[in-house]
């Protein structure tokens, strides 16, 4: 089958693997997986041209559930791994899947630098405001008063604001989605993938096991009242003052994506040794 034929035949199921997810029934991540496969089908790129990269956490299990190439790496380092892949394989579509603990806590530094570096890839964080996989410890986005075994009575800490941090660090596209709206999420993912440079999509994805209160999210989310801006200052003001449940594309930047230096004339490696010759 040629690539064109395959593109015509693209269905979301073409992007799903036969591996059965281990998520709890009702976990928001099922819907995120659905959004992934829908977005890929709409993109029309065959699964072997897509790589889904992740770290560790419930959310990071996603690569194996797709029929794309995948890498389930170590905790917090998915962005670095993805950058190495994309820089050397610009022909591939690279999507990174992460959780709020994986991406903002242990992987926090890589998040800043991935935004700065602006490699053309899409970073999806399934934010459930908790560590799901390790059974309910606070994450950087957990509310200060939220009680857990590791933080009796709450952490008392101000939650991390990933979208503003992404903006300040140079992300080129910023959006927030809700996993319970898989069609809209798929549309936004598709747009994020197509947007040149580093695009960041935060998906509110409830952990029904350790945060049953998050089932309420479906009543709290609402479309962003104004259209996306390309002015970072305006975007910052909006994101800082919103209620955390605004859904939609919030910022579209136009920074030039990173691309490695290319020599106009490449040489045979044996010629490099001339430098040592006397």
């Amino acid at each position: 089958m040629s690539i064109v034929d395959r593109q015509l035949a693209c269905k979301p199921t073409d992007y799903k693997s036969d591996v059965k997810p281990v998520w709890c029934p009702g976990c928001g991540d099922y819907h995120v997986l659905m959004s992934f496969t829908r977005a890929f089908a709409q993109l029309g790129v065959p699964p072997e041209q897509i790589a889904v990269i992740s770290g560790i956490g419930c959310s990071s299990r996603i690569p194996a559930y797709t029929s794309c190439y995948g890498f389930h790496g170590v905790h917090g380092r998915s962005l670095a791994l993805a950058a190495g892949l994309k820089v050397t394989r610009p022909d591939l579509t690279v999507v990174v899947a992460s959780g709020d603990g994986d991406g903002y806590s242990i992987g926090g530094n890589h998040f800043l630098h991935a935004c700065r570096r602006n490699v053309d890839m899409t970073y999806v964080v399934m934010d459930n405001h908790i560590y799901g996989m390790t059974k309910g410890q606070p994450s950087p986005t957990t509310e200060p008063e939220f009680d857990t075994a590791m933080s009796p009575g709450g952490t008392g800490l101000r939650p991390f604001h990933p979208l503003v941090i992404a903006l300040a660090s140079g992300a080129n596209f910023i959006a927030r989605c809700f996993s319970g709206e898989p069609n809209q999420t798929a549309d936004i993912l598709l747009e994020a993938i197509k947007h040149p440079g580093f695009s960041f999509v935060e998906i509110l994805s409830p952990c029904v096991t350790f945060r049953p209160d998050e089932k309420e999210w479906k009543n709290l989310v609402h479309p962003a009242p104004v259209a996306a801006t390309n002015d970072p200052a305006r975007a910052a003001r909006r994101i800082m003052t919103d209620d955390g449940f605004n859904i939609g594309v919030l910022y579209r930047g136009d920074r030039r994506p990173y691309s490695p230096e290319i020599c106009s004339e490449t040489i045979d490696p044996s010629e490099l040794e001339k430098e040592f010759e006397q």
Partner: protein
């Protein structure tokens, strides 16, 4: 004048006095005249400023270690010279030249009882427009080493071409004044004429030959975070990788660097990072990932003094344990060590080839001594090792990325290949790459990863094995040269000693080692560590003869041939 096979000279001065420039020019001139040589530098832990000395050893043939003593020491000034005094050992036959205005003559120099001559380099330089005392020192050294003034003058012209005519003129005038000042001085030693060779002459540091070896082996992507003394590898790769269609990324830290190269290698590009001890520690978790997910990567660890930040600018061999045993779980991987500046090229090229062939990470344990040494050497021979991993392209019935194939190496599908989609995983996985916690799958995959390393035939490159005798020296890495020299001296004393220096430290080679030890009743283990890590490694994995002695010392003072020779002679008396 006595003819000697090797001559050692040290040029000392405060940071910025230009001692290292003099060392480099002398090495280059000697090399152009056909000699071989090794130049190391000693600087304080502050990297810039403070004291600096160029330590140069020239010889008629290959030089892979520093001499026990220096024949000539020129102090451009004596600022802070006491601090590196212990590194510049002098004897009664040595000649020391100092400037009466260069500060007080250090006590360590007085103690050696060496001949001392004063030459007012500062004043002589002042008499030249824009003159610099280090050029006077260059002239003095050139004269005493029997070099041609013309040759040095030509080199100056070449090196200062970008700095304008005045700089060239003043440097040449300084050189001339130095030659004149040393006209009546004699060193008492003359370097034996160079051994004739048809090989192309190279001037390179171990870090540079390491980088070239990686490219020759197929590396086309590097990501790293700067750290002394590995940085020159990156600085050499940065402009050179793009010339061969490759890329270098400066990562935000070592955790990113190692993960970046794993990502690039997953995509099909042979990849490398270079670091030193503190960085290697940060990379360990991801090295386990590369082992478990069977992604080839090459990590160069240019060892410095540790633990913690230790002594960044000086050498030690004390990362051996972390390189071999640092990974959590049972994680077989490759560990190799280069033995000289020239061997950095071979070992890194071979490491790249092995990593790619066996789909596993390789750690190359270089060190500050060999990494930052500049050497004049014969061009190393070409070797055919180019990394080519077995790729999967046909997928008859469902792709098993981690199939339990004979030999343990299973073909790898590269992203973009239709039908080969799989998820690489650090979790224990099935043959298809699906996470599992089954005991049988765990055992099968652990066996697979162990088998592929153990069943591979590494050939003679696994170690340097030389000589006969019932006594063998077992050493590794950059101490190999010093051991070889000590063995040579013992031979002229009528004592035969064999050398066994493994280049491949992991996986272990029990049969080859047993063969190398055949007929040996005593071994002397030589290593640059405080805790005798190499001794314990050998004890753990190999059958050693009943008689074992260990010559071990931490850095930063390197173990010299004379110490090893002494240990041999003591044991043979």
């Amino acid at each position: 004048m006595k003819e000697t096979p090797s001559l050692s000279v040290a040029i000392a001065g405060s940071g910025g006095a230009g001692a290292l420039t003099v060392g480099n020019l002398l090495l280059e001139a000697a090399s152009a005249a056909g000699w071989q040589g090794l130049l190391t530098r000693t600087v304080g832990p502050q990297i810039r400023g403070g004291e600096a000395a160029a330590l140069l050893r020239l010889a008629a043939g290959p030089v892979e270690s520093m001499a026990d003593r220096f024949d000539l020491l020129i102090g451009i000034d004596w600022l802070n010279a006491n601090r590196f005094g212990p590194e510049i050992e002098l004897g009664p036959d040595s000649l020391v030249i100092g400037d009466p205005r260069g500060g007080e003559k250090p006590a360590v120099i007085d103690k050696a009882g060496a001949r001392f001559v004063e030459i007012p380099m500062k004043d002589m330089a002042k008499a030249i427009t824009d003159g610099r005392p280090n050029m006077i020192a260059l002239g003095i050294a050139g004269k005493l080493l029997g070099m041609s003034e013309e040759l040095l003058s030509d080199l100056l012209q070449k090196q200062l071409a970008g700095k304008g005519q005045l700089a060239i003129e003043s440097s040449r005038a300084g050189l001339k004044a130095g030659f004149a000042a040393a006209a009546d001085l004699v060193l008492g030693l003359r370097l034996a004429p160079p051994k004739p060779t048809s090989a192309q002459r190279w001037l390179a540091s171990g870090n540079e030959t390491t980088a070239l070896g990686a490219i020759r082996g197929g590396v086309r992507f590097a990501a790293a975070y700067p750290i002394t003394p590995a940085t020159e590898i990156l600085e050499w790769l940065a402009p050179n990788l793009p010339r061969v269609n490759g890329t270098l990324l400066q990562a935000e830290d070592e955790l990113a660097a190692i993960n970046m190269i794993i990502g690039a290698s997953f995509g099909g590009t042979p990849s490398l990072t270079a670091t030193s001890g503190p960085g290697l520690s940060l990379m360990i978790e991801a090295l386990g990932l590369a082992t478990a997910s069977e992604i080839p990567v090459v990590v160069i660890d240019v060892m410095r003094g540790g633990p913690s930040t230790g002594i960044p600018t000086k050498s030690e061999q004390a990362d051996l344990n972390i390189a071999i045993y640092g990974l959590h779980g049972d994680a077989p991987h490759l560990v190799l060590a280069p033995q000289s500046v020239a061997d950095c090229l071979f070992t890194t090229q071979w490491a790249t080839y092995l990593a790619e062939t066996l789909q596993t990470p390789a750690i190359v344990l270089s060190d500050q001594f060999v990494g930052q040494a500049r050497a004049a050497i014969d061009r190393p021979a070409d070797v055919a090792f180019i990394g080519r991993r077995t790729r999967a392209t046909e997928f008859a019935e469902g792709y098993k990325r981690y199939a339990l194939a004979a030999g343990g190496v299973s073909p790898m599908a590269i992203p973009g290949t239709p039908g080969g989609q799989y998820t690489a995983d650090g979790l224990t996985h099935t043959e298809r790459g699906i996470p599992t916690s089954s005991a049988a799958d765990h055992q099968a995959q652990l066996d697979k990863r162990q088998d592929k390393l153990q069943q591979f035939v590494y050939g003679d490159h696994w170690a340097t094995i030389e000589g006969d005798g019932d006594l063998a020296i077992i050493t590794w890495g950059s101490l190999t040269g010093a051991a070889r020299e000590a063995i040579g001296r013992a031979a002229s004393d009528g004592v035969d000693v064999a050398l066994i220096a493994p280049r491949l430290l992991s996986p272990i080679q029990p049969e080859a080692f047993a063969a190398a030890l055949k007929g040996k009743s005593r071994v002397l283990i030589v290593e640059q560590t405080h805790g005798a890590q190499f001794y314990h490694y050998l004890r753990a994995h190999y059958d050693l003869p009943a008689s074992v002695r260990v010559l071990n010392r931490p850095g930063p003072l390197t173990i010299k041939p004379g110490e090893i020779h002494r240990a041999i002679m003591e044991w043979s008396a």
